[in-house]
Subunit: 389 residues, 2 copies
């Protein structure tokens, strides 16, 4: 177990009707805010009206920035920064999923910065200040509601890149599971894959003596696996949604990173898929992760056996650990398929004519190695994409 | 699952040599502080010198308040409040275990309050302000390093009572597992029982649909059970200590309370044991908890079966759930005994001549009901103490 610092200050307000408290939370920070959201879904469901009404009750002025798309675009971030600067806005409220929240975070660090906010995503600069942000979450997936990270896509070359900073932990996040119940099934399933991936990225580590975090991660994966079918088949199942939504937050609030080094190669590889083909991030992960596993499992067979036995209830074949490990990977694929996702590139409509290009971009065109569990070069990434065909 | 708010702002700094960072953390808040600790053990081990050296490096002035005892006394709290007021101290650093930290918390809320700080412990008043505190933890046990609670014993009548407030979450807590390795085995074992009790108080709930927190609690209990023998038999096993120490913090930072109602009757009953007989709190819990379980398990047999099967690897007797449940309780007792604790009052040198008095005090002499899983009146408490003989 490694030394670590853990300090997640986000206030979680969880449960029924909690969105009506947004005004009284925002007003602790400012009465002049930017309200960021995506398409019209929050208007169709009535969530928009409830948010506006709560903001008005607390006499909060707001300017709206709508139109955030999945795989959120840098151009909209620039627009948000401009609006905040011109109107001296002091707080950003994100109402939506990971894309909306990540956009809000990007704007938050962009406003006090004199250079190009993209610098933070290329590693050219490190955020030194940020506007405070708050969120009302509409889908369990990205975990951005309680994370220190933000992922943005630059349309100029379709680079999808992330940044991280303690400054962008939301001040508060409001989680009402029932809000998520109107999302189309395919997006719910993608969200579930994203949450599973956040857990697996942390799980597959070379750090020794991490039993507590191993078990906490397994506990969360089992809970998701048990409740995913109900969430998919019955969107009104509040209890199943609440288990899933809280799991999604826990999965990515850094608690399960404490004292261990995560991998994150699959996330990086997937960013090329969704960056170029604009597929849902989670749907891309459902394809990349099993392929990654098949490519690396021999690196630490015991860990993959533990994953199979403890998470998937695979009966261990004590005389054939490899078979046991592979059965765990097969169970993961089976799970993704059962909730309506594909596990092959072709299921996403991606042909194999740009695999070289993706492998090249993922490794920054200079053979930058990806991942920590196993260090992957461009050739490895290409091979994993081939396995994902 | 119930609605909840979760917001634990304590910064955890975990690992080897982290105590040397105490000065740079404290100086963010003040350069004029109260330094609270217990007996001479931190001087014997050299920890005191390292703390002083780090404080001096950051040019922090401090006044010392030594002599905190287990089951910390109100009189010392009064003394600390007086020192802080007279010297306009602005920050309290606790170096020690739960007793030292709880004393620091009591002083922190006592300083800005014009009345008697004991009012907060009797429920007569609610804290409105507090000095900031920080901690350097020396034993995994009370979880006070990342909790919002404090328990103090009033020598006038030997009442042991607790209070809670968001204001007393420590600003930071420094956890170096190796610091705990010099503690006598019996105190280590008591600490382990206290941690297990924090988990079990939360685990035994009537709230439905709490699979995620159930599993997280089970994960933490299993980790403790697996590492306790190493910690007891080999104090230098850093990895085992690190698993135990981080488990102790996680067990009581309120994450596992999210969305569920805990019980806490066993804690309340035990407070009468340690209040009157001055036994270590954890040692008292090892006696009270199994007795409480035997008294209430029929209230929710399935939950006790789950506890037995998932936490203790008891093979379920599908045709005799009661046997399965009781085997789980027996395994818990066996575990406590294996680490050197007793599970009967007589093991603590407590005779049965004051059981009535303890039952009376625990129920506030007015038949105030204890607990949530099962509501216990004075007669129930007496019966549980009888079972613990």
């Amino acid at each position: 177990m490694n030394n670590f610092v853990f300090n997640n200050p986000t206030k979680i307000i969880f449960g029924k009707d909690t969105e009506n408290k947004v005004g009284e939370e925002v007003v602790k920070y400012s009465k002049k805010i930017l309200l960021v959201y995506g398409g019209g879904s929050i208007k169709r469901t009535g969530l928009y009206d409830r948010i506006i009404s709560s903001l008005k009750e607390s006499q909060i002025e707001f300017i709206e920035l709508a139109g955030v798309k999945p795989n959120p675009r840098l151009s909209l971030v620039y627009e948000g920064i401009k609006i905040c600067k011109e109107n001296a806005l002091e707080f950003i409220l994100a109402v939506g999923g990971g894309s909306v929240i990540d956009t809000a975070k990007a704007i938050a660090i962009g406003v006090p910065y004199n250079g190009d906010v993209w610098d933070f995503y290329t590693g050219k600069a490190i955020p030194q200040a940020a506007l405070p942000i708050g969120t009302v979450l509409t889908i369990p997936a990205a975990g951005s509601e309680s994370s220190d990270s933000s992922v943005i896509t630059n349309e100029d070359g379709w680079y999808k890149r992330g940044t991280g900073s303690e400054l962008i932990y939301p001040k508060f996040s409001i989680l009402n599971p029932i809000i998520a119940s109107t999302i189309p099934k395919y997006h719910v399933a993608s969200g579930i894959a994203d949450i599973m991936a956040h857990l697996m990225e942390r799980y597959f580590t070379n750090t020794k003596n991490v039993e507590l975090t191993d078990r906490l991660i397994e506990a969360t994966m089992k809970t998701i696996i048990n409740h995913a079918p109900a969430v998919i088949s019955n969107p009104d199942d509040y209890e199943a949604w609440s288990q899933l939504m809280w799991s999604g937050t826990i999965a990515h609030n850094n608690l399960f990173s404490c004292g261990r080094v995560g991998d994150w190669a699959s996330h990086n590889i997937e960013h090329e898929l969704s960056g170029i083909y604009d597929v849902p991030h989670g749907a891309g992960l459902a394809v990349v992760f099993p392929a990654w596993m098949k490519y690396v499992y021999k690196h630490d067979l015991n860990r993959f056996v533990q994953f199979a036995v403890r998470v998937w209830n695979v009966e261990e074949d004590f005389f054939n650990l490899e078979k046991t490990a592979l059965e765990g990977i097969r169970k993961l694929e089976e799970f993704f398929i059962s909730i309506g996702l594909g596990v092959h590139l072709e299921d996403l409509g991606i042909k194999d004519d740009r695999l070289e290009e993706m492998a090249d971009k993922a490794t920054n065109s200079d053979n930058h190695k990806l991942g920590n569990f196993v260090k992957l070069d461009k050739r490895d990434v290409y091979n994993i994409l081939k396995l994902a065909k």
